[in-house]
């Protein structure tokens, strides 16, 4: 499936072209109250480790040079932070992939369990909440930052099973959150109600005709009931139209059927999910999101950039296999392009009821369950932060030494005003939040 332009996939989603101009100034309800500037965060996951030599920038501090993989993000270099040496130090049950995934946002050990990985002991779910859900809980607890959904858990081609490799977002211990990988399902979750009223409104004229036909055919004494029915339909119509104009942000039509959830459609699905995420943020339906490409040990086959092999098996090849390293570089570059697209869409969208662009009020955090694929290392986990949502000092490449990623999570929480002393395993929080200001 070839995607022509933004209008094209919005149409595929069922957002009618006529509704597009409305996408700009939609959050009319919130306009009434002046509120503090919004803060948003998006966690993006891509699997199987990176190619460190092509990923980490050259240089340190504000003097750094992007290597190949991060090249697509060059336009956002001054809004970017890279963090090297921030490790996933959580140990215990489960293999590196499982811990890499399920401890990535939770920072806490897995329960012992019945899921056997490629090594170590079998394990179960994480023992605590993930940082995205912790921030969500905090924002939802206050009227000023509460939104209809709080958070969105979005996926692209996530394996259709629930286990520690496929879940990184947790409401609490033993409570993983399933991402929505199908844009039509996500659309339904976001706008289904409005779409349903639209369907209903579309059939009302026909129903009135039917009622009139039937009314003519029945005993005069029975017409009262049909009159009641006609009146009730009119009330229903008024009610639905009110709903559409008051709380509604866009007037979407139903999604067209067409894009199937298969490997080759991943680029299209990614664009569709990205647009839905941007529109949901624009409509202030949520302030927190996770965006998960595939899952740990994921095996996307990027045929659209000429790579036939699955991602995971390539990631096991030794560094000496330069062909595989080249392919892995391309794969990770493709992911960077998707992040760049998301950043671009946020950058070109003005902040509703605020100043600047939406990217100024959003921080994208791109990460991975491993530092490097073939060594299954949990050291030097890739962390790329883009955007101004959390008020960090950007335009820098930072280097740390064996620093627990729990401290990064603390910094994220603090940036939202949620002053946690510890997050995840408290033993890994020594030193407190990373100073990114």
């Amino acid at each position: 499936m070839n995607l022509q332009n933004r209008r094209d996939f919005l149409r595929k989603l069922g957002l009618s072209a006529a509704a597009l101009p409305l996408l700009g100034g939609l959050t009319s309800l919130q306009a009434a109250e002046p509120t503090a500037a919004k803060q948003r965060v998006i966690f993006v996951f891509s699997p199987n480790g990176t190619v460190p030599s092509e990923f980490w920038p050259e240089g340190e501090g504000s003097a750094f040079k992007l290597k190949r993989i991060l090249q697509p993000l060059a336009p956002f270099k001054d809004k970017m932070l890279t963090l090297k040496g921030v490790n996933n130090l959580v140990r215990g049950d489960g293999d590196s992939h499982m811990r890499g995934m399920s401890c990535l946002l939770t920072g806490i050990e897995l329960f012992p369990g019945n899921i056997m990985g490629g090594g170590g002991q079998p394990a179960g779910w994480a023992r605590g909440p993930s940082i995205d859900q912790e921030i969500r809980r905090f924002l939802q607890s206050k009227p000023a930052t509460k939104t209809r959904m709080g958070s969105l858990e979005i996926g692209v081609s996530v394996g259709n099973r629930a286990d520690p490799w496929t879940r990184w977002s947790y409401v609490g211990a033993n409570q993983p959150v399933a991402p929505i990988s199908n844009p039509y399902d996500l659309f339904d979750k976001l706008y289904g109600q409005m779409k349903e009223s639209e369907s209903m409104v579309s059939v009302l004229d026909g129903l009135r005709d039917d009622l009139a036909t039937v009314s003519r055919a029945v005993d005069a004494k029975d017409r009262g009931l049909l009159d009641q029915h006609t009146t009730a339909l009119r009330d229903l119509e008024r009610n639905m139209k009110e709903q559409q104009t008051s709380g509604a942000l866009i007037v979407p039509t139903s999604p067209a059927i067409g894009v199937t959830m298969e490997n080759d459609n991943i680029p299209v699905v990614t664009k569709m999910q990205t647009e839905l995420l941007v529109s949901a943020f624009q409509n202030d339906l949520a302030r927190v999101a996770t965006f998960q490409f595939s899952n740990s040990v994921g095996s996307i086959r990027m045929k659209w950039i000429g790579i036939e092999e699955g991602h995971h098996s390539l990631s096991h090849d030794p560094d000496l296999n330069t062909g595989s390293v080249e392919k892995l570089t391309k794969i990770n570059t493709w992911f960077a392009e998707q992040i760049a697209f998301l950043a671009k869409r946020l950058q070109e969208t003005p902040e509703p009821n605020g100043t600047g662009s939406m990217l100024d009020h959003t921080t994208i955090i791109w990460t991975n369950e491993l530092g490097k694929g073939n060594s299954h290392a949990l050291e030097d986990i890739p962390w790329v932060l883009i955007g101004g949502g959390l008020g960090f000092k950007t335009g820098r490449a930072l280097k740390y030494t064996k620093t627990a990623h729990n401290r990064l999570h603390l910094a994220l929480a603090h940036a939202f005003g949620h002053r946690l002393d510890a997050f995840g395993n408290p033993a890994l929080c020594n030193g407190g939040p990373l100073n990114l200001g």
Binding site: G113, N160, P164, E196, V203, D219, H229, T253, I257
Partner: protein
Amino acid sequence: MPLARVLKIIGAVCAVGLIAVGVRQGQRYYKKNLADPRSGEVVYREDCLRCHGPMGQGVAGKSDEPLLGEKSVAFLAKYIARDMPEDDPGTLSPAEALASAQYIHDAFYSAEARARNNPPRLELAHLTERQYRESVTDLLGSFRRGSSTHESGGLAAVYRGLKDGDSTNTDKNEAKFLERVDPVISFDFGTKAPAAGSRAEQFKINWSGSLLVPDTGEYDFRVTTPNGVRVYVNPPANGSEKNALIDLWVSSAMLRSGQGQVFLLGGRSYPLKVEFFKYKDKTASIKLEWRPPGGAWTVIPAENLSPKFSASVDVVSVPFPPDDASMGYERGVSVSREWTEAVAKGGLQAAALLAPHLHEYAGTTATAPDRAEKLKAFTWRFAQLAYRRPLTVEQKADLAKIFVPAVTPEIAARRAILHVLSSPHFLYPATGTQDDYAVATRLALALWDSLPDEALLKVAAQGALKTPEQVRAQAQRMQKDPRAKAKLRDFLHHWLHVEEGAEIAKDQAAYPGFDPGVVMDLRTSLDLFVEDVVWSEASDYRQLLLSDTILMNERLAKFYGQKLPEGHGFRPVKMDAAQRAGVLTHPYLLATFSYTKSTSPIHRGVFLSRNILGRMLKPPPMAIAFMDDKFDPSFTMREKVTELTAKPACQSCHITINPLGFSFERFDAVGRIRETDNAKPVNTVSPYIAADGTELTLTGARDVAVHAAESLAGQTGFVRNLFQTMVKQPTTAYSPELLSQLTERFRRDHCHVRNLAIEVAVVAALQK
């Protein structure tokens, strides 16, 4: 003859006593009236009309209550002679009292008079909630090649594991080591394997089959295990793991429970699948429980499980506002915005349930160039089934109009489905040409609360639904369908107010051990008994009232102190034949119509009057709370009720209610036999005036049951109740004589309940 044995029949009018009252209280008219009594009409005009109005409708400020009811002329005469006119009671001679009673009775008071003055008609009605849900489910189901089962007895189980001594842990080395039917899922394997042939460390069990669901409502499911498990209840065909109702696949070194809720329609079977695995967990165990609507948590019993496969069932779970039940049965005679909204949401849910199968049902694919035409043709087929008849040219054109280029054919099809399910042609089944399709429509509603099936539509198309014989043949065929059983069960629940018992709770100090588990078992016991009788060869109404056995399981036998015969599950236990009387003395109903600490003769009496003896009771003129501590502490319950209802205004109904309730005083609030109440012997003897004026002496519950079973009044009440619940119209809307004709036939047919249902359906279908 049992009637003669137990009932003492007294003369209908005690003239001597009445004259004595007249002489004492009203000398003025006495002599004159004896010599030259006025006619009933004149008495009414001169002495009654000023308060009761020309047609007994009442006069504001004087008598608000219309004169209507089902008491006999003799009863009215006695009442008039003693208490009327209110400002000068006792001034009418017995002859004038009798004449005026006769006039009032025949002119406007009796059911016959009311039917004559204001002939009931077949009112237009929309589908009731039950009819809507059943119809939509059958409509959606008609496109899939489904199968269902009603054969109970557990789930098919396949056990796989690694052979003893196999040191690998790969799934592909696993082999089947056991295959059997497990009656229930409740196992504790400890640290061992379930059977020889597998290592204890790693094994899998797959249970599959069907869930047999008795009643409609929300069902809760709960699985408890320290291992990995997924539970699927009614998953869609071609579903995947994400359709699991409960997913506890990943274990966490602890025993834990997962819960899920599903809305299911009663009388149907649903696919059920449980996938279980153990890998290196210390122990293995699993328990699968449910909580049916109004029930308590319990391991899903074998009776509700089948090892046979069922296709998944599309159920619309959108909540509906309750239907009008002011006439004692549910009917769709008012339209609110809430109802219209529920219909709209139901249509949207139905369309969503169809969406994944749309192309398959329409015989096309998502990319076929002709899919618009195919989907259009599908919506015509859909509408034809929903409207229960071939479409008119205009109806086809209207649906075709929805397929416009601006929307995809899939969206258009979805809108067409929404249109059809919100259309009056679907929602008001009585509208439309009065032809054989109309007969088929009414027959399917009467027997199933649903749509005609393919076979019935075929006969309608042939024009072969004209004679009672033709319709009866179809009704007999249709009664074998599980939907007929579900509908009769619905009637029996309605008749016995079974839903009211869902909230039974008793004071635990007064009735220790009477917990929700006992209540649920009692309900099952009642259901099984009633269905056993109705679906037996004889299907004898009288047996429902006269049987002296109660079905019990271990828990009930223990609570009621009975010895349980050998066997499994619920078994008949023979009770005291002199006391017990079928459903009337079933502990579930006795407990339902009681207070938490004591019996309630009023609740029991009202239920018996209305539901069992078919008597009409007006609502009480004033609401009086029963305050137990307001009475003399030495009183029995009977004495309290007698004192509370002593006023004449109360007595017009309580003269019927109390004797019936008092007859059951030998049963305590949980249905056990007792000899004393408040340290005094219970008294169950009272005089009772039957609907036809006959005076009886009731000595206990069994007398009431015999009266209900054998008397015309009891049988008529049952026939009327069954008719109205099945057809949702009064019998008098068909003809004033219909009720007595059906009752007469019922008596001749040895009170055969299923045959009665067929005759009711035939009458309703032919509308003659």
